[in-house]
């Protein structure tokens, strides 16, 4: 048995109102890739935070390369040999790639910046990742995928013994995911221990030597070799397994999001374009119908959603909701006409993080809870409590700040905002990104509920499997609609569907 790169024993951690970790053990051997799976709130993120030095455990021990370590700060964790790549990148956008890579390591720079030497190192690191990036470009000018590679290069520079990757693939296009996974194998071959967190189980089973599953802050299962997906899902969701559609889908059953479409058109988009990246797009969505809009990363699907909602300036074309033309470029008008947007980035565009779950839910419907110019606190709280229960939002109370809630629950709070407003058309941009399998099913359930209630939905997603759940799918490529297929066509000709993605 190889030496252990990381040994974690009996880690406990509690937050106000939540016992996040209840005695977790974890061992990663040198050169081993361990997949860490668990539903939202299972304790994954907390464990990562502790290992990266951002949070202190209440009890338990951590040993890196056989040496017991206290990871008091992120810096101490890096010194100890644990580097972490977060889903949200920590680069300075105004600075160049080179400066970012050496941002946390001034020693190499000495009194005088030895640019040439640094450049060589940076190029070698990026080359090892197969990244075609000029070290003098500003990070802000790079695509998200390339920024991610810069982030990884930055971590690799210090030759860490352990590399933690917290959902590194979420924002990457498929080709770069492949590259990253094979890179992880290479690093493991060099003796680095890796912990890999991803909501995409095929990635986990594809790259990992073993898989650990957390549930409710405990380690429930360790698979010594990657098991079939449904076994992981079963371990993750536990008792909820039986009624979980996710598990059914994982076992090969057919899932469908819509199926209740009626005749009358609710949303009509007529030649909408931003005059730049997006060619004129036209389509209709009927009542009770869910339309998928997909494409590879950057194919224009998110731009389309932003144009319809009025965030991105529209140069020509019309959006019509229930027969009435929506004035362009004004989110406020779009909302008044019955469109609701679940934005791609819920933290910066959706939620007021320091406000309570309740206030976030009612934010778009404040008038509804106002009478005689006063907020009806009791009515508002009752409404929020009903939604918390109905949508199964996990929170200590409706007054909990959304900042302290998990991604899936934050997303449900956003959905609750538009359900509260009774929006006719929901635009959902990447609705299940960064959300675990169980919460994903919950979100699908809420979309179904909205459709049965007579609403319509547009799901903008770069997850092909998610798009395939919809009644009808538009495929975008280079800002143009290149294909339209309905659910049955996709089921019959999956390869044909995938072939449109370019």
């Amino acid at each position: 048995m190889a030496n252990s790169a990381l040994e974690v024993t009996g880690i406990h951690k509690s937050y106000p109102g939540v016992q996040a970790l209840r005695g977790v053990d974890l061992r990663v051997a040198e050169g081993e890739v361990v997949g860490l799976c668990g539903a939202n709130g299972a304790g994954k993120s907390t464990l990562v935070k502790i290992l990266s030095g951002a949070e202190q455990p209440d009890g338990g021990g951590i040993a890196v390369g056989g040496e017991v370590q206290g990871l008091a700060t992120p810096h101490a964790a890096r010194q100890a040999g644990i580097c972490t790549i977060y889903q949200e990148l920590s680069l300075v956008p105004q600075m160049t790639v080179l400066d970012n890579i050496f941002l946390d390591d001034f020693r190499r720079r000495g009194m005088v910046v030895r640019r040439r030497g640094l450049e060589t190192v940076a190029r070698r690191l990026l080359g090892r990742l197969g990244a075609d990036v000029d070290v003098h470009t500003r990070v802000a000018d790079l695509s998200i995928a390339k920024q991610q590679l810069v982030e990884i290069a930055k971590a690799l520079k210090s030759e860490p013994a352990m590399l933690l990757l917290d959902e590194p693939t979420t924002t990457l296009p498929p080709r770069d995911v492949e590259a990253l996974l094979s890179l992880m194998r290479d690093l493991a071959r060099d003796g680095v221990g890796l912990i890999f967190i991803s909501h995409r189980l095929d990635e986990v089973t594809g790259v990992c030597d073993s898989v650990e599953v957390l549930r409710d802050g405990r380690k429930v299962t360790r698979f010594d070799r990657p098991p079939p997906h449904h076994e992981i899902v079963r371990a993750m969701v536990g008792d909820r397994y039986e009624n979980s559609l996710a598990a059914a889908a994982a076992e090969g059953a057919e899932g469908k999001l819509g199926g209740v479409a009626q005749q009358d058109v609710v949303l009509e988009v007529d030649g909408v374009t931003d005059g730049a990246r997006l060619q004129p797009c036209s389509f209709q969505v009927r009542r009770g119908e869910v339309l998928g809009v997909t494409g590879l990363l950057g194919a224009g699907q998110n731009e389309l959603a932003e144009c319809i909602f009025g965030i991105r300036p529209v140069t020509s074309g019309r959006t019509i909701v229930a027969g009435r033309t929506v004035p362009p470029n004004k989110p406020r008008k779009s909302i008044a006409h019955g469109i609701g947007l679940i934005p791609e980035d819920r933290k910066t565009q959706g939620l007021v993080l320091d406000m309570s779950a309740m206030k976030n839910m009612t934010l778009a419907s404040i008038d509804r809870f106002t009478s005689f110019s006063m907020l009806q606190g009791r009515r508002e709280a009752a409404h929020a409590r009903r939604f918390v229960e109905e949508l199964q939002i996990k929170c200590s109370s409706v007054d909990q700040r959304v900042r302290t809630m998990s991604g899936g629950n934050q997303q449900k709070v956003l959905l609750a905002r538009w359900l509260t407003r009774d929006s006719r058309v929901l635009l959902l941009a990447e609705p299940t990104r960064g959300v675990d399998v169980a919460a994903k099913e919950e979100i699908y359930r809420l979309i179904r509920r909205h459709l049965r209630g007579g609403g319509a939905a547009v799901v903008v997603t770069s997850e092909v499997s998610e798009a395939a759940l919809c009644d009808r799918v538009l495929v975008l490529s280079n800002g143009r609609i290149v294909a339209e297929m309905d659910h049955d066509q996709i089921q019959a000709d999956h390869d044909g569907f995938l072939a449109h993605l370019r």
Binding site: P16, Q56, I335, L341, T348, V352, I366
Partner: protein, 379 residues
Amino acid sequence: MSKTLNTPTAPSPTARPRRRFIPRPGPQAYLLLVFLAVGVVGTLASPYFLTARNLENIAVAAAVVAVLGVAQFIVIVTRGIDLSVGSIAALSTVIAAVLLRQGVGVVATIVVALLSCALAGLVNGVMVVYARITPFVATLAMMSIARGVAFIVQVGTLIVISNQQFMQLFGGRTGALPNVVLIALVVTLAAAFAMKFSPIGRRLYALGGNPEAARLSGLPVNRDTVLAYVTSGFLAGLAGLMLAGRLSQGSSLVGQGYELDSIAAAVVGGTSLFGGTGDPISTVLGALIIGMIGNIMNLVGIQSEPQLVIRGLVILLAVFLTSGNGIQRLRQGAAGFLRRPPAGERSGLMGSGLTAANDDAPTPSDAAAQQTTPRRTGH
């Protein structure tokens, strides 16, 4: 006052964390603690401190700063700042004095003065929202313009106010209380009520907390921001009338430095300059704390120069305790020092290095989000 102790972050009874024996008080509780501590120091320092007459002096002196503090708070909560409140107050005294000298009625005078000041606020708001000038610069310009206009309107030196009705209104008293104190009290309570229970209050907190989210939720972000500056100008005008009543004169020279006093009051009261947090009552408590400290130093006979130094230090301390989670950090630090933990398990001051203000369970990604927010929403 119990309202301030139970602001939105307080957990509901059903949600009380199980493993905590004493609920951790919020930042506002520390503010009250500082307030009481300063009171105790004052009582010990001088027998004269706790007399009715002295307390009234403190209240009267703090009343103007309190109203300006509320004005400032309403702008700060939207992520803005209003450097023009002191100048607008001066403009208000001059307008009132000029009109009264012309024999204009008291009511008309007050209305004209307040509307003029609200107009100055409107200009601020329009500059910030539609001309996209940062609040700091837009109100810096207005600070200069308003005082300049006051000079021009005044023509010459200060104008004495002799109108008895006006003096009675802003310089007199009702029952046991001076009218200025009553006005400050009404303004504070009205603002506190509006921020907590009215839709506009909720909208201001939301647009300060995350402007983009507020906009994409369909809130009238532009209109509300302008309204915040108009309200600030209006209240600055009211503070000016209070000053005019106290000094029985209108002068373009009064109110200098009040913009900074009002910011200090808001900040000592726990308001974050990043917007979206704080409340008017805490701001007024902040104004009172600063006022009390000045009073105590006067009673003890400290020279005015060291007074400035001490006041600055007290502001730093108060802000550390209220918005910087200071007590919690001190406690953690002390615990770490006393426990002398084994080598394998270190904790202490550094452990909270990433702790954002008032955060229960901060995460690195939150810290990252906070860093990215201004970038994304900046013009």
